[in-house]
Symmetry: C2
């Protein structure tokens, strides 16, 4: 008896769902042109659906050319310096920054005001990290792993905020490595529970599984991390974007228990398609 089950917490988190709903709603009102500054989420299929509904992706360079349009700030947020630029033009700004990311931005701003040197734990090139970093002051450092730490650059009073999708383990490891070098540490744990819950549930499930399918954009950091975590458990794990990528040869006779998980930016319809496709193969 083959079993295919989707992990309960797979897919859209609160912030992503909210941003996408805001984008579709703005497009439906249909009075002005609607743009998102960068793809609204790390999921090309959703970006395509939005495009079909009239929402176009623009870059920072396109801003001066927009007249009388709506620009949506995506869930990752943007640095305050860029937000100020937007206000210079005749643009309606729709801020879909995830409320949890907004909190991390506020904490970074507060810590900076209090004179702390900020260590932002996260991926240096991730748009969320860049948006928080904009609030963190000039002394701020982004650290993704304990091996990135340059202790000679640490001041004596450190403030910590963390990319909402980081793993708790990494967060703790970096703090442990800093603690011995400094005197004062003020930490805001800005990891989002949705990410932690999804990772925990996926890992729990991954213990009793023959095959793990992780669904999500290849450019989605949290999807990639889910894949890494499953592989660390020693599971056969495939990261796919859509059902089309599923290969027959993955499903040997001894593969009985199959679980599907998905990153925060993966829409339900893609997850459902993946499930259906696997059911077709196994029938």
């Amino acid at each position: 008896m083959k079993k295919i089950i989707v992990v309960k917490s797979a897919g859209f988190c609160f912030g992503v769902r909210r941003a996408i709903e805001m984008a579709f709603a703005a497009a439906q009102e249909n009075t002005k042109s609607v743009y998102t500054l960068g793809p609204i989420i790390h999921n090309p299929q959703t970006v395509q659906k939005l495009y079909e509904a009239g929402v176009k992706v623009i870059t920072q360079e396109d801003i001066p050319n927009i007249t009388n349009g709506i620009v949506i700030i995506r869930s990752h947020g943007i640095p305050p310096q860029l937000e100020k630029q937007l206000y210079k033009y005749n643009i309606t700004i729709l801020d879909a920054t995830c409320p949890f990311v907004k909190k991390a931005q506020n904490y970074a701003q507060e810590l900076n005001k209090e004179g702390y040197q900020i260590i932002l734990i996260g991926e240096p090139n991730h748009p969320e990290v860049k948006s928080i970093l904009g609030y963190a002051g000039e002394k701020a450092i982004v650290v993704h792993s304990k091996v990135d730490l340059d202790y000679t650059k640490l001041q004596n009073r450190i403030g910590i905020v963390v990319q909402t999708t980081q793993s708790f383990q990494n967060f703790i490891e970096i703090i442990n490595n800093i603690l011995g070098y400094i005197h004062e540490l003020k930490i805001y744990n800005t990891i989002c529970n949705a990410t932690a819950t999804r990772q925990d549930e996926t890992l729990e499930v991954a213990k009793k599984v023959d095959l793990m399918i992780v669904v999500g954009g290849y450019n989605s950091a949290n999807t990639t991390r889910l894949t890494e975590l499953c592989r660390k458990q020693g599971n056969a794990t495939y990261h796919i974007e859509t059902a089309d990528e599923i290969k027959l040869e993955w499903f040997d006779d001894d593969i009985n228990i199959i679980r599907i998980t998905a990153g925060a930016s993966t829409p339900e319809w893609i997850i459902n398609n993946v499930k259906k496709r696997i059911e077709e193969i196994l029938l």
Copy 2:
């Protein structure tokens, strides 16, 4: 060839040396009676020497009976509530609180003012911990080990200070266990380097040794911890207060490398006596 070496950082730390010098100096001036509120350090032999110089140990209950004397606050400090009581009487107060303990008291006061619930990492019955706790507000909790943590009692904003003689490992373990339960954590690492250095040097030396002698008062927390750490390394370890306790049978023929270490409250003359006594046995 038998080798006996005293660990470099064994014995008095800065705060203890300072407090004892202040006590002897006050006794020498000889104008008023001199008292210490509790034994000045956790070393009965030093307390005896001070007694011979005219410095008497009193308890809190004795305070109302002192007229026109000098009361020395020992290096561990006292709670502010008790300090206020002292000021009610005609007493000269000589504050020998270790400057590092004073810092921990100040941080506890500051964190309490900022609305944090304070977790004080340390031994609940240690006078230093009691002195810091007096500044930490009513919500404060003392935690000595991660197993003491009652997560249901944790508020969402926690401030941490730590008994100056705690091990860094214990400090980190407790923080790691708290981090997952709360949102905001402000940490002051108030561990004194002298303790850490003494522990590190002792442990480093303990790797290449046949016998470890730890010298210090049985009521000295940091001496007891040194003993524990050496035993964890698997070494033959004896905790003694004075040279008189050394036993011949500890020195079998296969005991060649002997190291002596001592807690922060152990005076140099006691360490030297221990060394001399072992040399006599081995000659």
